[in-house]
């Protein structure tokens, strides 16, 4: 059983979909129960696999026994292991959260939601475990299509948002596929490990560089990096609550993972170093994304949309970290740290923001006056996550920024330090508006008399929200305590990073 775990983790949600689809027609509550069971199983499996990887090193699984590169291989090293745990945890938390929100937002399509949701998770988990570039494409499409459909099921303007997401996302998938095609022509293989062996002599080849660019651009669209981000704000804003949560966290982070995997497992740090201008482009695109995303957020009054823009900035942090990783002794540490932190922080924020919409139908920051009295817990969680994001020590955001600043200084790039500073100040401005509205401004009018808690979100939504918010702050302490240093070292070791540059 243990040996089959990598497969089981991915397949459980798929079975959940099928079972949910079959039972959902007559038993309304079944899909939710099945989803929780499937995701709970995946999460447990992921934890077991991850602890195994931490102990014994990378794990291989050959699907139907075909050895790579002929068959498809699942390969789990430290980074995938972390991601598996992260995705399955977020998926589980969001599933718990989704129950009430889906009942309210799409009462007529509850079981369709659960089917699509589980398929999305299947795709994401699959991306996280696969060791094959083409399989990764297929799963990318599974996840993306589920994403398009889920987004389109949202509010009145969601269909248009979903359509745009579909069109732009498909272009991204095409780019990715083209790149993979080029690589296949150049090397005759699709297995990631195999590619890493065959590619080095071809690093100077125009085809390989083109392939890299196509894959990079394709994935940049998926992670909504500036200037490939245009689909993202609408999609995040108009999607149903639970969908906003999951695509801004698990999905976005998984696509970022795919980018890291391609950049450092297929191509390697040597390729990046031999194409120094490319590394520069990666860094500066990240920096531009940070600034532009933050500036967008300043002008935004719609809370969900502001969070979406802030995600663009945070993707920038990740990409900047990726660009810098070859030049510092920290390696991918800033990236891995921020990947986890941002997933938790954004998850908490979207959960809180959507809970406000769920209860009070308040979408705009200017309408949040007096929220601390109507929804004390939600308001507190929103503020806690905001503070973590801004970088109040010792929260998660602080550790992210700390490592990024350290990486920038170590690689001698003072410009990026300035970028991080400016973006933090901008972040302070746009999150402070939220904090001010919630805590400092008095309520506009006398709200209807309510007893305590009646304005608060239902417990099923509140628990995941509280868990994520607290984690988003506490994770900073976890990182700082060094409890996860072994994991990060493992990640860096697998990619040949983190040594003396």
């Amino acid at each position: 059983m243990n040996q089959q775990l990598p497969m089981v983790i991915v397949v459980l949600p798929l079975f959940g979909t099928i079972a949910g689809f079959c039972t959902g027609w007559w038993a309304r509550k079944m899909p939710f129960i099945l989803a929780i069971m499937a995701l709970g199983g995946s999460f447990t499996g992921a934890v077991v696999v991850a602890s195994g990887v931490m102990k014994t090193g990378p794990l291989h699984y050959h699907i139907s026994g075909w050895i790579p590169p002929f068959g498809i291989e699942y390969r789990i090293d430290h980074l995938n292991a972390l991601l598996l745990v992260l995705i399955s945890f977020l998926a589980l938390a969001t599933a718990v959260y989704a129950r009430s929100s889906v009942e309210k937002e799409m009462p007529d399509r509850v079981f369709l939601f659960w089917c699509l949701y589980l398929l999305l998770i299947t795709g994401l988990l699959g991306i996280a475990v696969t060791g094959d570039l083409f399989n990764l494409f297929v799963l990318l499409e599974v996840a993306s299509l589920a994403g398009y459909a889920l987004v389109a099921a949202g509010d009145r303007r969601a269909a248009v948002a979903g359509f745009r997401y579909l069109v732009i996302g498909t272009v991204g998938a095409c780019f990715y596929l083209l790149g993979v095609g080029y690589l296949y022509i150049a090397t005759g293989t699709l297995n990631i490990k195999d590619l890493a062996v065959l590619l080095p002599p071809l690093y100077g080849s125009g085809t390989v560089i083109t392939a890299f660019i196509f894959i990079l651009a394709g994935l940049a669209i998926k992670i909504a990096l500036f200037p490939f981000h245009a689909w993202q704000p609408d999609a995040y804003t108009h999607a149903p609550s639970a969908v906003s949560v999951i695509i801004s966290t698990a999905a976005a982070k998984t696509f970022t993972y795919a980018l890291i995997r391609v950049m450092f497992s297929v191509f390697t740090i040597d390729f990046m170093r031999s194409n120094a201008p490319m590394t520069g482009v990666v860094c500066w695109t990240g920096a531009a994304s940070i600034i532009i995303g933050s500036v967008y957020a300043i002008a935004q009054d719609n809370l969900k949309r502001m969070l979406a823009y802030s995600s663009i900035a945070n993707v920038g942090y990740l990409v900047l970290g990726i660009g810098l990783c070859g030049a510092t002794s920290l390696g991918l540490k800033p990236v891995v740290v921020h990947l986890v932190n941002h997933a938790l922080i954004k998850g908490a924020m979207f959960m809180a923001a959507c809970a406000v919409i769920y209860r009070q139908e308040l979408r705009h920051i200017s309408g949040l006056q007096g929220l601390s009295r109507q929804m004390p817990v939600t308001a507190l969680m929103l503020v806690l996550a905001s503070l973590s994001m801004i970088g109040l020590p010792p929260g998660g955001g602080f550790v992210s920024k700390w490592y990024l600043i350290l990486a920038s200084i170590e690689s001698g790039q003072w410009g990026f330090v300035a970028v991080i500073f400016v973006s933090t100040l901008l972040m302070l401005v746009y999150f402070w508006r939220v904090i001010e509205m919630i805590y400092i401004r008095p309520p506009l009018s006398e709200p209807a008399p309510v007893t305590r808690w009646s304005g608060e979100q239902p417990l099923g939504m509140m628990i995941p929200c509280v868990v994520l918010s607290v984690l988003s702050f506490a994770i900073g302490l976890v990182w700082m305590s060094g409890a996860l240093d072994g994991l990060i070292q493992g990640v860096n070791l697998n990619f040949g990073l983190g040594g003396v540059p």
Binding site: L139, G188, T210, Y296, Q300, R452
Partner: protein, 754 residues
Amino acid sequence: MNKGGQSISDRTSCYQPTAMGLSVAFHLLLILGLSVFYDPAGSSHFWPWVPSLGVSFSIRLDGLSMLFSWLICGIGIFVQLYAYHYMKGKPSSGLFHAYLTLFMLAMLGLVLSGNLLLLFIFWELTTLTSYLLIGFDHEQELSRKNALQAVLVTGAGGLALLAGLILLGQMAGSYELDRIINHHAAFASDKRFAPALFLILIGAFTKSAQVPFHFWLPGAMSAPAPVSAYLHSATMVKAGVYLLARLSPVFSHSDLWFWALALTGGVTAVWAGLLALNQKDLKLMLAYSTNVALGKLIFLLAFGSRYAVSAALMFIIAHAFYKASLFMVIGTVDKATGTRDYNRLAGLGRVLKFSFIASGLSALSKAGIPPLPGFLSKEYMYKAALEASYIPAAVLVSVNSLMAALALLVVVRPFIYKPTEGTVPATSAEKSVFLWVPPLCLGILGVMATTLGLNWINTAVIVPAGMMISQAPDIEGLKLWQGLNLPLALSGISLLLGIAIFVVHARIKEVIGAAIRLLPSGSQCYDRVMNWITRLASVQTDMLQHGRLTGYMFVLFLMMTLLTLFSIPALPLPDTLDWQDIRFYEAMLGAGLTAAVIIVLVSRSRLLAIVSLGAAGFITTLFLMFYNAPDVAKTQLLVETLTVIFLVMIVRRLPKLSDVLPHPVGRRVLNAGISLTIGAGVFWTLYSISATELDTRLTDYFAASSVIKAHGRNIVNVILVDFRALDTLGEITVVVMAALGASAILLHRKRGRE
């Protein structure tokens, strides 16, 4: 206030006595505990906490941190007591005491940290907790704006400080204060020295409200009186001074340190003093006078000589007592009269007797009347200045005379002058002991400190703390009587000047006001920057996030074009095409394909475009047929057919092409350029690669083992269902999902229509 809120606030309000009692007890406990552990020689306690970041939970308890700890906890007790009555009846007043205690803890952590990063963490926590306090009963737009302004300015400073501390830590190879201070000689020549110093100075100057960052402090004084009393006296703003004092051994030998501190401190002290004279609001006047005090402290730290250090330490003590007391008195005055307007207050001395005494004592110390602490510090600062030259002495004389004038202004008119018609009558607010005992105690303590406890202060604080700052072995205790000398004369001069300024205050106020209006104010610059950012944000959103898909796609492909430029240098030059090699049917198909695509592009009829698109697809299929890929051709044929069918199905629902505005010509040319570039790029890369031999390892394996191992004769099928079955499963899932997704949308539409 809603009912729910009311009940919550009522609950915390009735906890207020408990909250206050616990807080005060906690303060006392801390004072006792720290005093017991205190060893004037200095002691460090070290627990590794965050080895990965180099953060350890190391505590450093020496003269300097003890001085601040005593002030923080000691003044804290009086503030808690004062707040008891001041906040009584306000919603959540119990919480207020908790916030105060939290802030006190953050502040205490800051001064006790023996590790730079720990110090930074507490630094930011004081920012956060102080805004919990400042924002406690914010109801006005202006004060909210000021709160943001304060957060931003100190936040920016915090970031700069972080970078500076990182650099410092990198230079020293450790974030432990002990290590950094002991090794400071090693990094004087490091090229990171100057940037580190610069960044740390920015951090300290923003926190301690030095010019040009001074504007946030008076802005943030809309806080309740106990908060102002606490923040302005012993805590918050002193954090910057503390940090500079702490790091003084590391940096003080550099010129940059001296000039930056001397100029900033001097300018701040004088400028803020003038601004203070120009205020109407008594509280604002005091707030600006805090700026003066901070400037003076920074100015003294610049010199770092033994006299300067002793003077600075004494002044920190004196200032903490008199400023806290004065802010409390103003709070009481506000309670009693409902105003803090300087011009509308007079004759309060008869009603608010105790407040009058408290403010009188504090003002005497502020003005520097012998033998009060204010005087003592003044003596030593003149000594220090005269050691250097006459210029700093002149600066100090002017600053001190401004201080003296301010002290007179705060007390004489509101309390002593006879009430006139315009003044507001005072109600007796001193019924509650909590409103007058704390300021009175502070005032008395401030006076007694030097007369009764000077020896103790010297041995317990001044000497050990001074050693920490200047590392000079010759620090000695302060003496009350220095003899008749120049510093005493200067003290007298500044006092007289202060009285003179007070007398002509009304007249010079106008002059100052006129002068201030000429200069740019920090607050205005801040507003302008904020406006500018907001405008930039909307412009950017309009430009980039306009909601038109065509525009998005344009940017996308433009970026793609630019990125492909990278691969061009690495691509081989294409060989000249061998035109002879092209067969007739190939040429025909190529021509047909091109024609079909051009028709799609220029057609003004949707139907024609769809038909041509279909034609292009079918011609592609033919290509595949000719190149021995029947499987792919079959698939392609199906896809093309379905595409055309779907397009025809929806074509009637689309708006007429003539109704859609075409892009302007320039844009169309650009579009054409982009698509041609991408097309050419793809062609070129494919063409250059088609020359290389395809690696057939996989194909060979599949051919060899599909029958033997997978028991299938159709290799493509075997690949699909066996070798790469997972991909096929994925693709099937995609199809299912498309159906699910469509039904999710359609179901909704249908229900919606019903």
